[in-house]
């Protein structure tokens, strides 16, 4: 996991130790170009997968979606709306042309444009996932560094033992359980927060907590361990030998190397948060992309399914791209990779 490992380097330079030739192009330009290419490729793949969703349904989609009670005419109408009655390449072409025009089709159930449904629901989900992400980062990074500083060189062993114990239990608790426990304690017993629904800030507390606790436990542990290993590095010893104040030592020499490690799994945590949002929306009966997706799958509303999968997928891809850029700006060695 550590990005700190170095390739052993033999300094076979001539006595004059010539400098390495300056690169012809700025490494950042090459880096950005590479990443943009890979994002574009992945987006193309994603759109193709979403397109294939309907085509992969075994058998005749009209029969399966319409059900056995439907008439042949109804089934053919479904096939026509899905476009599966046209030649494959035509379908693919139409799909792309619609996509680029911002047209994701209409819901089978409500006949609303999918884009409208997206707009209505994206905000609520984004609110939960975004707040959770902020909470996770705001707690785990400073908290993990503080814990690392506290337990460095095997100090405060009891703190370490309690922390690892609690963190490994919380880190193993699925959002499902956290959500039910929170609902039981704060909504049913203490009656501090509402059990479910969409509304003001009060309605957000439990869902956000429910999806944040596990990532917080995981990230806290990781940041603590990374802090410990950063504190044990030769370069921190070098910094210590300069007798810098603790603030400089931690902010300049420990933090960047810790954040690098935290960000590396940050992309995975974001995926966790998205999946968590889907679950938590159902538990707390909130409106959002998750509940929309689940209902669409249950009612076989394919245009909506396609739209949701596309949007959630794009969110994951962009989150990862952002993490990549942040990583590169913090750890210059990433740029040349």
């Amino acid at each position: 996991m550590s990005a700190m490992t170095e390739v052993s380097y033999s300094d076979g330079a001539a006595p004059s130790e010539p400098l390495r030739a300056p690169r012809a192009t700025n490494p950042w330009v090459a880096f950005v170009r590479r990443r943009i290419i890979s994002v574009v490729v992945i987006l193309l793949l994603l759109a193709t997968v979403t397109f294939s969703l309907v085509r992969l349904i075994p058998g005749d989609p009209g029969v399966i979606i319409g059900g056995t009670a439907s008439t042949r005419a109804e089934q053919m109408a479904i096939d026509h709306r899905l476009g599966v009655d046209r030649p494959f390449l035509t379908q693919y072409w139409t799909y792309w042309s619609n996509l680029l025009h911002g047209d994701l089709g209409r819901s089978f159930v409500t006949n609303d444009p999918v884009t409208t449904i997206l707009k209505q629901n994206a905000g609520a989900s984004l609110q939960v996932a975004g707040l959770a992400l902020l909470l996770v980062l705001a707690v785990s990074i400073p908290g993990g560094i503080a814990l690392g500083a506290l337990t460095r060189d095997r100090r405060h062993r009891h703190v370490e033992n309690w922390f690892t114990g609690i963190a490994s239990v919380v880190g193993a608790m699925p959002e499902l359980l956290v959500a039910t426990l929170l609902a039981y304690a704060f909504a049913l017993q203490l009656k501090v927060f509402p059990v479910g629904g969409t509304g003001g800030i009060n309605f957000l507390v439990l869902p956000v907590l429910a999806i944040s606790l596990r990532p917080i436990a995981i990230l806290l542990r990781l940041v603590r361990v990374e802090t410990l290993s950063a504190l044990a590095t030769d370069y921190v010893r070098t910094a210590r030998s300069k007798r810098l104040p603790a603030r400089t030592l931690y902010l300049r020499h420990v933090l960047p190397n810790v954040v690098t490690a935290a960000l590396t799994i940050g992309g995975l945590l974001f995926a966790d948060l998205i999946a968590g949002t889907v679950i938590v929306e159902t538990i707390f009966a909130r409106r959002g992309l998750g509940t929309t997706l689940v209902n669409a799958v249950l009612s076989r509303d394919y245009p909506v399914i396609q739209g949701m999968v596309l949007v959630l997928g794009v969110a994951v891809v962009f989150a990862n791209a952002i993490v990549d850029f942040l990583l590169a700006s913090l750890d210059p060695r990433q740029v040349s990779r």
């Binding site: 006595p15 390495r20 075994p58 060189d153 499902l176 049913l188 030998s241 995926a271 799958v297 959630l312």
Partner: protein, 639 residues
Amino acid sequence: MIKSFFRNANGIAGSIGVLLIAAVSIFAPSIWGKKAHTINVVNGDKGPSGAHWLGTDRLGHDIFYQLLVSTRLTMEMALGATGIAILVGIPLGAGAALLPERVRMIALRALDTLIAFPGLLIAIVFAAVLDPGKFSAVLGVGIGLSFSFARVASSLTLAIRDREFISAARVVGVGRTRLMVRHVLPNIADSLAIATTVSIAAAIVTMAGLSFLGLGVQLPSVDWGRMLTTGVQSFYLTPFAALGPGIAIALAALVFGFFGEGLARAANPVLWPGSGGDDDSATATADGPPTVDDPYEPVEDGVLDVRDLTVSFPSGRKRRQQVVRGVSLDLAPGETLGIVGESGSGKSLTALAIAQLVAHPGVVEGRITVNGTELQRVPLKEVDRTLGTSLAVVFQDPMSSLNPAVKIRNQLIEGVRRHRGLSRAEAVLAARRRLGEVNLPTPERQLERYPHELSGGQRQRVLIAMGLMNEPNVLIADEPTTALDVTVQAQIMDLLAGINAEHNTAVVLISHNLGLISQNCDRVLVMYAGRVVEEVAADRLTEAEHPYTRALLGAVPDMAHSREQPLVSIPGQMPDARSTPVGCAYHPRCPLAVPRCAEQRPPLQLNAVGHRVACWVANSDEAPAGAATVGTATSGDGA
């Protein structure tokens, strides 16, 4: 490996839990199947009671027994998904790693992105395409998990791909599939075992989520996730109907997580400190309080004066083990002092102790005076200022001693900014000058670089320049050339000599290489098992009296040395701090040892020619004939 697995608590808890889950999965349906499926609508939606420990659901099913009975289906699905993940993931990852370079890069990047896709989302897609049910759930969750297996398999394969036996197999012409099955897989098996348990835990959770959403197991089949759905629907009436399965899911995930962690610890005990092996046997011979047997006259106006320095670490309960034992040394302005000794002699720790860099739980005792300031007597702020401005350390490994994430410029200027209060511009100007002094071309360019853009020799120059930033009186160089090429070594030593001459900076050079020390120092301290055993002027090294020093000298090749004659090697090993023998620590290896050497430790005594040596034989008048003693030995108190 098996032993250390059962020595850690997680491993034990994990394996007991796994066995329990297995037993319940196998036996519960036949034992409690009837109880779980009994419908009793009148008794529906009741809270916990003596008859129904977790209460009942709407149809009056007993939730506790239902939980036990549905363990089998839950586990079958989790194992099934993990099986698919392994079958799909490992060939995918290992195969990707064996691809030609270009294609491999693309494949691995794609894999990275796929891992970032939530497994639940992938499973939902499968449920949408196929009919939601057991089959689509197992397949979807399995595919979702397969990417992380592929990642593990690819990085492990990459790591061992270039090892010799793989290349050998390739040269012999073993095919790709065969290569993977016969040579690669066995080598990555234990890591994959760990990944498998972790993946089972993830499968349980994801599968439960899917069933909870109504996209997994369909009624009348019931797994834990499905039970949770029913429970949440009647959450107001009977919260335990939801909490029960929720806790079961979390517990099962925890059990498999623990099991995996236990496996990981057993496979790689080094990465997991504190997993057993902490019970230091208390057989150590603890040293008494440091004995002051070192009659030492400090040099007037010395820049560094160290008295009775001891460094100790805890060993076992309430015991401390001394690793550096009563070292005293001093340094005049502009002097170069060499400290030589084998690894484990305490020479590097002496340097760290002087620079106040010994980490907890190590304890440093003794008196250290830097540039007239006695560090133990002044407040911490003053210690920081004194050490920050008067003393600099150049460490052994230039590759790891610079922070990879910080520009050279900032690493160079932070010290002077702090201690001399220079403005940023002034500090950068000073940094540029120092880089010039250490012969780095185009200093302005180097300042804007990151450490990874420099070679090892260049980095060591940067570290030396960094040490010079505050114009220190003392520069401690701890094996400054060990990690470097031979040609670069000579340049770095020349550089240190130049700095010593130009700035009158006193240098402490620490090395295991007596040849290097004798060529570059005025005075030599020889350390053995944490003590100074001899101190001698470098140009009179041939007159050294301690048998250990003489043995070291015999191990230095020179031009006059005949190639037919083997180099002398010292038989035996340096004792480690725990088992230092009584008497002279060197006596078990010493060819000249007399009975007294095994009983009493020889003090460091001044002899007639001004050397100091700790040896009964060298310091006695009855030196055996033919002994390697040179000069007249005196038994004076040297005061």
